[in-house]
Every structure is written in C-alpha cells, then in structure tokens.
C-alpha cells in the first residue's frame, strides 16, 4: 500500500467517528450542526495532553473523550428540548462559538527548545506523539480502524438491544415514546454525551495523524459534511455513515478522477440521492431486507 492510499484510508476512518456521532443523534431524531465542535475539543485537548504534558496517547484519548462528552452534555442541557431546526441552529451557534474560542485560545510551552501548543488562529503545531514513537502510517491506520471496528460492534450490539429500539422509538415519535414512559429528555442527553465522546475520539486521532490543527479545521463545513455522510450512507445501520464517508473521501477525492470539481460531483450526487433515497442508501427498509436475507 502506498502512502497516499494509507492516508486516504486513515482519513476515512477518522471522519467516520464524526459521521457516526452525527448518525447517533439523527436516529434519536435530532439534527446537530455542531458535532465538529466536539471533534475539535478532542483534537485540542488530546494534542495538549500528549504534546505539552507528555501523557501517553491512550490516556489522552480517554480524557479527551470525557471532555468531549461533558461539553456535549452541557450544550445539550439547554438545547435538547428544542425541536428540529431550532436545535440545529442552537448547535450551529454553539459550534461556531467553540471555533472562535479556539481562535482566541493561546497556551504555549517550551518543549525541547521549541514553542508547542495552541497559538490562536496560527493553529497548534507539533502534535508528534505518534510520529516520535516511530509508528508507521500502516500501524496508525490499523489503530484507527481497530478503534472504529470496536465502535461499530458496540453500535451493532446497541441497535439490536432494547436500548436501540428505545432510541429509534424516540427518533420516530418522541410524544409516543414519552407516553410509553420513556424519559425522552434524559435519554437524549445521554445520546448527546455519547455522540460527543465519539466525535472527540475522532478528533484526537485526527490531531495525531496530522500533527497540526487549526481552528479552521472545525468550521461549519466539517459539521455539515458529517451530517451529509450519515444521510448519504443511510440511517438504517451504523455502516451507513461509514459508507457515506467512503463515497466522498474514498471514491470522489481518493480516486482523483473528479479533481478540481469534486464538490460539484459530490454536491450533485447528494442532492439527487436525497430525492430518491431521503434516508440514505442503507435506509431502514434496505437494512431490514438485508437482515432477513442473510440471517
């Protein structure tokens, strides 16, 4: 495998966490335009912990996930009772606030003769924990995909459980779910916190893959992309978001066939797809059919 292919595959893995995060909220009936903020929180906090405090990556990742879910919880607290577009707008506002806070965030320390740490709009250089330990690109790829696999397995188990059924019930008809005795608000808060942790994990991995992050990485474009990934791939299964990321990063960008007008192709594709399959390629019907066939 050459480095280019490895890079593309790693990126697919990284952004799948973010897409899964958006997907989790979508099946609970909420459209968040702000998951990129928690991706950013993960990237910044993970980077600071390894690059400045010298903590090992797994510890940093755990702390970052906790922080991501805490932030998501705090944003969800006043906003999750809002409906539909209002929630979408509130999360968008929260995420843009986070991005501007990243721009204002300066926290640099002398490490080994150079300044390391977030430097406002100049970004955050030198997140080299993985690089310094001599991890090959292929090794990192395996790490990212290993973690993604774990996340997917958890998702699949969750979706077959009572928890998954509850989640979809809330997504389809919150009022009905409420009348069945489900505490919808509490449930959604839990979902938001979990989605925040997922996004943060993606962010940590993203920061250590690139070694350099800047506030611009976490703008609204990233958030809407993650939503689009989940919607193209389909809301029927956790493989949906992954498929969505593959279509964009793998086929359109990775193949380099559409170089220079990838967005024209991607944009048109998404718009046309949504007309014919408004809940994505792998929607509930297709997944149901596949399950009936193969199990």
């Amino acid at each position: 495998m050459d480095d280019y292919v490895t890079g593309v595959l790693t990126n697919i893995g990284l952004f799948s966490f973010l897409a899964l995060s958006a997907y989790l909220l979508l099946i609970a009936g909420e459209m968040s335009f702000g998951q990129q903020a928690f991706f950013g929180v993960g990237a910044y906090s993970g980077g600071i912990l390894t690059a400045i405090y010298g903590l090992p990556l797994p510890v940093a990742a755990l702390v970052a996930m906790l922080l991501g879910s805490l932030c998501a919880f705090l944003v969800g607290l006043p906003t999750l009772r809002l409906r539909g577009l209002y929630f979408a707008m509130a999360t968008l506002a929260a995420a843009e606030m986070a991005r501007i806070l990243f721009e204002l965030f300066r926290f640099q320390r002398q490490i080994g003769g150079e300044l390391v740490g977030p430097d406002g709009t100049q970004g955050f250089r030198g997140i080299r924990w993985v690089f310094e330990r001599g991890v090959e690109p292929a090794g990192y790829l395996a790490l990212v995909w290993g973690l993604l696999l774990i996340a997917l397995v958890v998702f699949l188990l969750m979706e077959r459980s009572r928890l998954g059924a509850t989640l979809r019930a809330i997504g389809e008809d919150p009022d009905l779910a409420r009348s069945c005795g489900i505490s919808v608000e509490r449930f959604k808060l839990g979902v938001a916190a979990a989605a925040g942790a997922l996004a943060a994990l993606g962010g940590v991995l993203f920061a250590h893959h690139n070694t350099y992050i800047e506030p611009r990485n976490f703008d609204i474009m990233l958030g809407v992309h993650s939503l689009a990934y989940a919607l193209i791939g389909g809301l029927g299964t956790a493989f949906g978001p992954l498929l969505g990321v593959m279509v964009d990063l793998g086929v359109l960008e990775g193949s380099r066939v559409f170089q220079g007008y990838r967005m024209i192709a991607f944009g048109g594709l998404v718009a046309i797809l949504l007309i014919f399959r408004p809940r994505g390629l792998l929607d509930e019907k297709v997944v149901h059919w596949l399950r009936a066939r193969f199990s």
């Binding site: 006043p78 606030m97 609204i220 919607l231 220079g260 967005m263 048109g268 046309i272 949504l274 007309i275």
Partner: protein, 291 residues
Amino acid sequence: MLVDLIQNTLDGLTAGAAYALLAIGFTLIFGVLRRINLSYGPAIMLGCYAATWFHVQFQVGLLVLAALTLAATVLAGAYVERLCFAPHRDRSAIAAMVASFAIWMQLEELATLVLPNHLYAFPALYEGGPLSLGPFTLRAEALVMFAVTVLACLALQRLLYRSRFGLSVRAVIDQPVAARLVGINLPWVFVRVFAVASALGAVAGYLIVASAGQVTPMLGMWSTLKGMLAMMLGGLGSLPGAIVGGLALGLIEAHSQWFFGPQVRDLTAYFLLFALLALRPSGLWTTPRHG
C-alpha cells in the same frame, strides 16, 4: 467616547441594513416553505461572481452589473428550488436542508472554477471619500444601502399587502392548510417566493460587494450565516422581525467589535443566538400564534 458610540451605532445600522435585506429573503423562504435554505447565500455569491466575470471580460457599467447580479442570482435560486425544495415538498425538512448544503458546495466550486483567484475587484458604487457630518463620518455607500433597504422594504410591503400574490404568501405563512383549502396553488407560490427572495438577496449581495469593492467565495457562507442569524434574532418567520433582527445584529456587531475586537464580535453574535434559542425559542419580536 460618546462620539465613538454614536459612530459605531451609525456603522452598525449600515451593516444592519444589509443584514436585514438578507434576513428578509431568508425569512420569506422559511415562512412560506418552513425550510432552511442553506444555499441562499451561495446563490447570491454566484450571482455576484457571474456579474464579476462579465465585468472582467467586457468591462460593463454599474447598472448592467446590478442587472446581471439580479438575473444570475434568481437563476441560481431557481436551480436550488428545483433540486432541493420541489422534490422534498411533502417530505423531510432535514433532507431538503442537507440537499441545499450539497448545492452550496457545488455553487462554491463552480464560482472558483470560473474565477480561480481568491479575490476579485468589484466596481465601487462611489469613488469619493466618506462624507463627514461634524465629528462623524458616513460612507456614501452606507447612504445608498439605507435608501435601498428602505425602498426594498416598502416595495415588499406593497407586494405583500396590495397584491393577490402577496395575499397568497401571507395566507401560506399564516395557515398552510387553509391556504390550500381556499385554492392557493402551493408549488407555484413556492417558486415565486423563491424568485422574490433571491431578488432581494441579489440586491443585498450587490450592495455588499459594491461597498466592499471586492468579491470572494466567502460571500456565500457569510450571507447565509448573517441572514440566518438575523432571522433567528428577529424570530423565525416574522418579516418585521427580520428587519429588527438585521439591525440588531449590525448594532451588536459594531459595538462589540469596538469594545472587544473582531473575534469577540462574532462570538457575541453566536452567543446571543444560542442564548435566545435556549431561553426564548420563539424569537424576540414574535406575536404568539393562534390556531
């Protein structure tokens, strides 16, 4: 200090006038279709780009430029309506919104394919320096912006309250089911509302790039965000609210920029939006809806 405060207020109202125009277009679409059109700003940007392209090729005059901006924006708006909103009419608002985002990507790349530089000069409305009124300065463009915004609002008011089309628009905003029951052809209203909203957006876009003297692809995202923000501040779907929201946004931005700098300016605007949504989701100036 007082002079600065007043000067900031003037600047804020100028910016606010442009925001108000953007918000009115946004609100028309939201009020009638109950959908968020993320491609609203990018369509305006494409309109301005089309005009810029003509200017680069043929050196056309100001009026021709304005007409071109208008025509191209309305055309781009029609494309967005056909692809993102017409097919999702009776279906998911989320799908329509994501589709409008997808088309945003398209329009933005299209613009940069046609004119690849990051920045293009756009003929200014007025070549002279700012006018001074005692200790205050006011750019001539600001006066034009104000005048045009007021005129556009009056024209819209007339259209909404004095025409059959206006009656149908208000009926659809007020009570969509009843609007269908009295025989209003909804799809046709949607198409025309899109055209009017795009035209208003084009006016705003033209004035904005002409006062800035330049156009960049960022105009798309900028217009969508400002328009949406002003609409939310004024209360979703209320047209007078959109005007108040636009002016309020301009004022908030001007004052917080003067006190805290540009980053905090944006932060304040988003914080306000967030707080408003969390505390008062129906907006600041909305009247409670009946029925």
